[in-house]
Symmetry: D2
Subunit: 331 residues, 4 copies
């Protein structure tokens, strides 16, 4: 499925080197003011080509609205947005078809789709589709109003100083991984459901839809494995639910507890590393040394914060609608 959400639903489509990528949002309340300008900041944050360690590929990434907008407001009908792909260099990929790139979906997509998949630049599996997530996130954030969703890089290559982490990668002529943290402030107490629609279940589901994410943890996360209960439990201070510590990350029993929501994801090193790799050649059926040409980020984690904010906002908007804290028609 390329769909997600119960009331506020997103559908994404497109391929890295196809004509365009895009999204449909179903269930967006009517009456939200929306224009192309709303998208600029987040789309720019996602783009490569600015930060050290990100790819020089640049798309203009101007949102092309195809439906659901009228007189500058959402109509309540499905919103369709396209982003054109106008900076593709498919030649780079076609000659490499015989070597399924390690870490990429080339091999698994081939198995799953029987060779019919669009393999150019990762096709539908490409990180290019995260622009659709970001666009949906822009709309979700507007719906969330004063609820603030903020993600940032926590560490790169084990260094909390990002520059230092990147220099490590540049020195090694290799790509590198990192950790991204997302924090949400202003969230009401009582969002979420027991068991399968717990806030953690939904956020993790969405976060793992971001390519390269390999782990998700809330609050103290994996460190909780070494903690005592009296240490991990967050004592409640008052009837607002405010706690003195926040090891739970703002979610208890699957439901928001009125404190800051905090969670982290690990982003694996970019699969396309400049370093040579010894791997299978499908044509010769032998191992060979393979090295990626193309244009790639050394550290894909750098581009993840805005994407993580986006999927977080999608989940929370859906939960806010379920909790009837966002109206179906905005005044």
């Amino acid at each position: 499925m390329n769909s997600f959400g119960r009331i506020f639903r997103i559908h994404i489509f497109g391929e890295s080197h196809g004509e365009s990528v895009g999204l449909v949002i179903d269930g967006c309340p009517a009456g939200l003011p929306l224009s192309a300008e709303d998208f600029i900041t987040d789309i720019e944050r996602r783009k490569g080509g600015v930060q050290k360690g990100t790819t020089p590929r640049k798309e203009d990434d101007i949102p092309i609205f195809k439906s659901g907008l009228f007189n500058g407001h959402t109509t309540g009908a499905p919103i369709t947005i396209l982003f054109e792909n106008n900076n593709t260099r498919s030649g780079d990929y076609e000659k490499q078809r015989s070597v399924p790139r390690p870490g990429h979906a080339d091999f698994t997509a081939h198995a799953r789709y029987g060779g019919f998949e669009d393999f150019r630049g990762g096709g539908h599996f490409s990180g290019r589709l995260t622009v659709c997530l970001v666009a949906a996130g822009v709309i979700a954030k507007k719906l969330l109003g004063t609820i603030e969703v903020k993600a940032s890089i926590l560490e790169i290559g084990g260094e909390q100083d990002i520059e230092k982490g990147l220099e490590k990668a540049i020195a090694a002529k290799d790509s590198i991984g990192g950790i991204v943290e997302c924090r949400v402030n202003g969230l009401p107490l009582g969002l979420g459901e027991h068991f399968f629609d717990s806030v953690e279940s939904l956020l993790a589901h969405a976060a793992f839809a971001i390519p390269a994410v390999k782990g998700v943890e809330f609050g103290a996360g994996f460190a909780a494995a070494r903690m005592f209960g009296s240490e991990h439990n967050d004592p409640i201070l008052d009837t607002s639910g405010k706690t003195s510590t926040n090891h739970a990350g703002g979610v208890v029993g699957g439901i928001t507890n009125g404190n800051e929501l905090i969670y982290r994801v690990v982003v694996k090193p970019t699969s396309s590393t400049p370093k040579g790799q010894y791997t299978l050649n499908w044509d010769t059926n032998e191992m060979e040394t393979f090295s990626v040409k193309g244009r790639h980020d050394l550290c894909i984690a750098l581009r993840v914060p805005v994407v993580l904010e986006a999927v977080t906002a999608l989940v929370l908007t859906d939960l806010m609608l379920l909790a009837q804290r966002i109206k179906p028609v905005l005044a």
Copy 2:
């Protein structure tokens, strides 16, 4: 929602101190032989009262079949199973109503359900409901046939020697956390979907439905943040997709790659610790020292492996049905 799955769907219900807990499974293929005996091993594995560090509460936990079985086989109609609660001591909880227990859902459930929630022993939020997950897992495992789903304790309180970890807790008179790992062998190449129905998204969604789970990681997991790409990428050895390392944990691009599936969850320390905690009293609106009576596990992680296997089996069964690798009628 208390439902999960697209074709093979589970619904769970019940409360810790209600009359019973139970489950409905929809979409189970017809013709699967099934009897109460099939459940014994996994139900026993989940039970407290045996291992050091687990609660002395014991339920007989004999599955009571209410629908979907005929002549010892599944019929294709929904399967309903009940487990009676016959060992409850609600008195323990009622007097503690004024103090929402830190780490438990008492406070958040109250906010979410406006005080109408069954608060006895955690009500619907209780770990008691994991017996329903385990029962569903028994059926899923039978459907998976030779695919082997196996979870085990990796560490308790930071110790890889489980006994040592537990002794730490006993010595501290406190509860303690741990890490559980799940491995799946024999899984075909090519299961899963791109983006929102990636294998990682679905497994994480299900795993976070297990009470006390606060983090999920695949393969190298959070360690990937400190790795180079050339190190993390798993070189493909042959056309079966076998890789020389398994940092991906068996999933690339959201799709199984034919190698062992490996993932881990962190289980926070049992919220009910014998240690006193300074927390809010709703009646007095002041903080007070509170200490849990009741019967509780020192380390809830000990009971998680069979539950993690269960939710893993649920997800994989659903994906196998979608991939048409399990038939809707078994011969």
Copy 3:
């Protein structure tokens, strides 16, 4: 799927001659007062054995609450209700196994479930399961408050006088069909969605889940085929949306228009007719004259009104929750 609804979801299970039938309701708001007495009227209306033309089979049909209720109110957790089957005579059916009863699901269920289906008394396909729909309807009606859902027999065997219709059947020693109409008053303007979640789509979906329903029409229905536009269009009288006629049946563009909702279903004659029928014997592979023993209604339509009310109430409750006109927690 045996599930229906987006927020207010019902799952039904059980077999005619199994131990019990039942239902789980997910997404019911917390705080609704509920007791066994609430169910008496509708459960009685559904029962056979009272009206001329209905079967003498009688179940006590006392709802057995298994979860989701606490202190006389719904808790917000899933509500599970069982109805025991204590008046079954399976012997009647087992000897008839070799002749798939015409009009019944015997043949199709066998094809669908490969012979593993519980064939006794129609098994899971039995009209017995409508008691679960009725029970869910009781809860939905309570949630709808002053919105009144009322269904009644419109005609039996072509006669608007019900007694006359039934006497026709008794005279012919045959079963007979009928038409049931459902009307809803007090419904707000603006419920429903465009296209796939139109009010008509959802109501028809639910109505066709009632065994023996073979047609659904709204407002003027099939008569619209012979009408002119100027005749069928309902002129709007004022800003409340009140129309001078109601050929639309209260739904325009898939959305309620503030007028009475009116729709009708046709109920085929009871498949189990006392009349002999010439049909296949699976054992001999030849046609033979077959005549139903067992206990059966001459006119199943007589029992449909309360079931049609129930599924109507389910759909409307779900739409009211989506429109945020029923709160997730009732004060």
Copy 4:
């Protein structure tokens, strides 16, 4: 929701006088050959401007593929298709804004979306969107292979001779209704589910998503209300399930019985009739005589057959995938 289907899912979007309308199909098997030519016949059948009684508005309606196709085959990723709107005359509608057109969604859409809806030409509620259904139907029909889905006009204005029916409308200077029948041959025995996913439930759900459909009946349909059981029951002739009559319309117990699937829909007269209508003016808050300008079909039923085939094919494709009778990757 503008989504439908469990495995083979369609999402539609767009507005009558917006830039384009379109669709996304999720879950389409990989490897289906597909080109713009495949769409010509059905798109032409849907178009107005050819038959007497249909509107002169003509769109080129060339499908613009945006994703999911590669080297002339489906890839397994979502398929996106746009149709441009290049023949709109919005001026016609804007001046009529003050009079919500009787029979149209103007009034209900306004209530539902608070005035934010795109009202031009019916906006998202327009019959224009049926081109998206038709396009999805083209793909579904290709997947169904030898299963033949065929719909045709049964009667117009009560006349089985279509020309005669239309002349009635032309003479009356009014629009007129009709009945469309859909028949499916070659369908396997055993498709569908009990209760909520019965074949009838799913087909009716989809059929009522077609604007102007106000009733759906299977086999004998509403005539069953006047039949005896011995007459309505279809005697089974042999082990293939072939019956001597087909009053069930090919579905028993919600499951296909191996006979021809037959169902009918009633299509109300086109709401836009040339005849004057006395109805509310929102500005003056008084009734006035209103007459539609614009370009409109006298009998919208004429354009419904290909749309009914399309939604039928969607439902059946989904059921065939669930029954594992269409593979996820086509060889």
